[in-house]
Symmetry: C2
Subunit: 391 residues, 2 copies
């Protein structure tokens, strides 16, 4: 760490933060990375990793692999940031591993803080989701789904299982009709019905996949054409779509669901994958409450068009941690990371020119520096360029 | 399952059982596999998988992948056999997964039972080993070691860690100076000191590896030459060997050890790998107690030279579940599996000839069958052929 350089602390190691870490020029700044996960995860292939189509290690890149190729040494701390104090420009980091010592809470100073901590899985307060359901966000979620899937299938193959128990074990339920839920229901079908047929020939025809969505149709944010295509395809593959259906409770082996006609029933299940979108991460929620006047967005941090957090100096945010006009995708986050790294470079040059201007004595020189400064001051706001979708 | 054929139930999916499953001719027998693990694990590469040199999926082969290529359908049950009743020729199997129903205990009948359940890790009753130490036997052990290793290193890299805590976290202890322990200490060295140097340059020189052995020297079952080579190499690599040292207690962050001079001291550690060999598996212990007169071996099942369990009809055993003159290696177990499958084929032919003999009326035909029978009855005892060691 060079004491003459400003220190940028970046939180998180997802799409936005990793892109920022890759692009930030460490000749201009000290860089510190704080994330409870010491690797980047290529999330589009996470569903495939639950069924073994891709190997988990193939979709992981250690953050230290990226940082060790930077021009100057980067500090990486595997810890979670639990609080930000903008007044003293410090953050609190906590170690949650079993190896933590008696003082797991440490403090770090920053000149600039960049928040890319992502979002939390939303459960809408439905009891039992955290305990009995599986999310689809982190590597550990994929492992949990994989183990659960194999347990269900192997248990259904045990001798003397009752037909009801076999049906329960082989009933896979996906909750959430957004892109993630739809994609995952299809992935499950390909694996369970197609791939497993040769391995468990007696079970393949007993597998049932259901998709539950509270709204009147799936993929509400997509075109009518895509919705119809999906519905037709799912019908062909015997994936049952239950729209206008809400999950009210999750028990170890059954769900309580409420239909459009207000009727309440139970639904036995083997595997439950919960993909109903994101809600605000704990740290972000805390920070919002510190600036109630400026931070009025329902979810995520409000930022200006330059990704600076509203109401607060020297704090920037991007990706799923923020509330913007863009969809919460890796593509947006990645472009934001790249943009912010470029903006930081411009900020450094601007600060350097301003320092030069102060020192300059010759009028002509001053004018020259001022010209450069005028040019650099116009940092353009972030603009997203859509390069297409994966499906 | 063909009711006219005898049913062979094989327990386990390790070296012996898998080799038996591969070789048994299912034209002659119904085959049922019972194992709490639905895959074969290539154990020689397990140490490498803890440090990412090989991927876990590369050293696993699903049992169903093997069985689905057999001539007739094989039943595979992912469950643990918890009891054998030789009188009624039935076994009890139990499901231990979270998916188990209210009746997790089922019963299965056999004509022949083949026991290849392996052995349990021996802890010599040292308190805390199970809870805080890591074994090196199953896939889950390798994952546990990997997570523990990374937690230790990442924690040592956290800001403001005391030098004592850093030293503790980076002290890796292997208990057991047999082949497994020695190999693992070397693997740890290669990974931590060589590979990690570029990733954690500040930590590499602080890593300490210790090997603890209760006997006066390591590798007691090997040649003096190999022992000296190992000791010299370890000295060069700064792996400290503590011989004549016993671990008396294992606590979360320190061991209590007793040296040759009876002095007792504590040893702080980050990772503890426990590799002190095998002891009898629970099922085998139970079965031994059912035949106290014939089953007098200290560890494992006593079998005759044809791998038939002593004191009991129609039960065979092989691999680490047995007590034989051979070393507990995969090579021995694998040859035993192949041998037993061949013996079962001969048994089938013998039984068929005996049935023919009973039915035969012509004296000349009887003589011919008897001749064949005399030849087949001479089933040769198992003999091990050493094809060399991996190191």
């Amino acid at each position: 760490m060079d004491p003459d350089k400003k220190t940028v602390v970046v939180l998180g190691s997802g799409w936005a933060s990793t892109s920022f870490i890759k692009k930030l020029d460490t000749r201009y700044y000290n860089l510190v990375v704080v994330s409870p996960r010491n690797y980047f995860l290529f999330t589009p292939l996470l569903p495939s990793s639950t069924v073994g189509t891709v190997n988990m290690k193939s979709i992981i890149e250690p953050i230290r692999f990226i940082t060790r190729h930077k021009k100057r040494a980067v500090q990486v701390f595997e810890a979670e940031c639990t609080a930000v104090d903008p007044a003293s420009k410090t953050i609190t980091i906590e170690d949650h591993t079993p190896e933590k010592d008696h003082h797991p809470v440490k403090s770090l100073s920053y000149d600039y803080l960049v928040i890319g901590v992502g979002a939390r899985n939303s459960t809408f307060g439905v009891p039992g989701v955290d305990k009995y359901g599986c999310f689809l966000k982190e590597a550990k979620d994929a492992r949990k789904i994989h183990n659960k899937l194999m347990d269900c299938i192997e248990n259904a193959a045990l001798p003397n299982q009752s037909p009801e128990e076999v049906n329960r074990l082989l009933h896979m339920v996906v909750v959430g009709g957004g892109a993630t839920g739809i994609e995952y229901a299809a992935e499950l079908h390909d694996f369970l019905v197609d791939d497993l047929r040769t391995w468990y020939p007696d079970l393949a025809d007993k597998i049932k996949i259901s998709l539950i969505e509270a709204l009147p149709n799936v993929l509400p944010q997509f075109s009518k054409q895509l919705i119809e295509y999906t519905e037709k395809n799912f019908q062909k593959q015997h994936i049952t779509i239950h729209t206008k259906t809400q999950v009210k409770e999750v028990h170890p082996k059954e769900l309580v669901v409420k239909k459009a006609d207000d009727s309440v029933s139970t639904m036995p299940y083997g595997l439950l994958v919960w993909a109903t979108g994101n809600t605000t991460a704990a740290l972000v929620q805390k920070l919002k409450e510190q600036f109630p006047e400026e931070q009025t967005a329902k979810k995520g941090l409000a930022v200006d068009d330059w990704l600076k957090m509203k109401g607060c100096e020297d704090i920037y945010a991007f990706g799923d941690a923020t509330h913007t006009q863009y969809a919460p995708t890796g593509q947006v986050a990645s472009q934001q990371g790249k943009y912010l790294a470029h903006q930081f470079k411009q900020m450094f040059i601007r600060d350097a020119l301003e320092a030069q201007l102060k020192k300059a004595q010759d009028e002509k020189e001053k004018e020259k520096i001022q010209k450069k400064l005028n040019h650099i001051k116009e940092i353009k706001p972030f603009q997203y360029t859509h390069h297409g979708s994966l499906w």
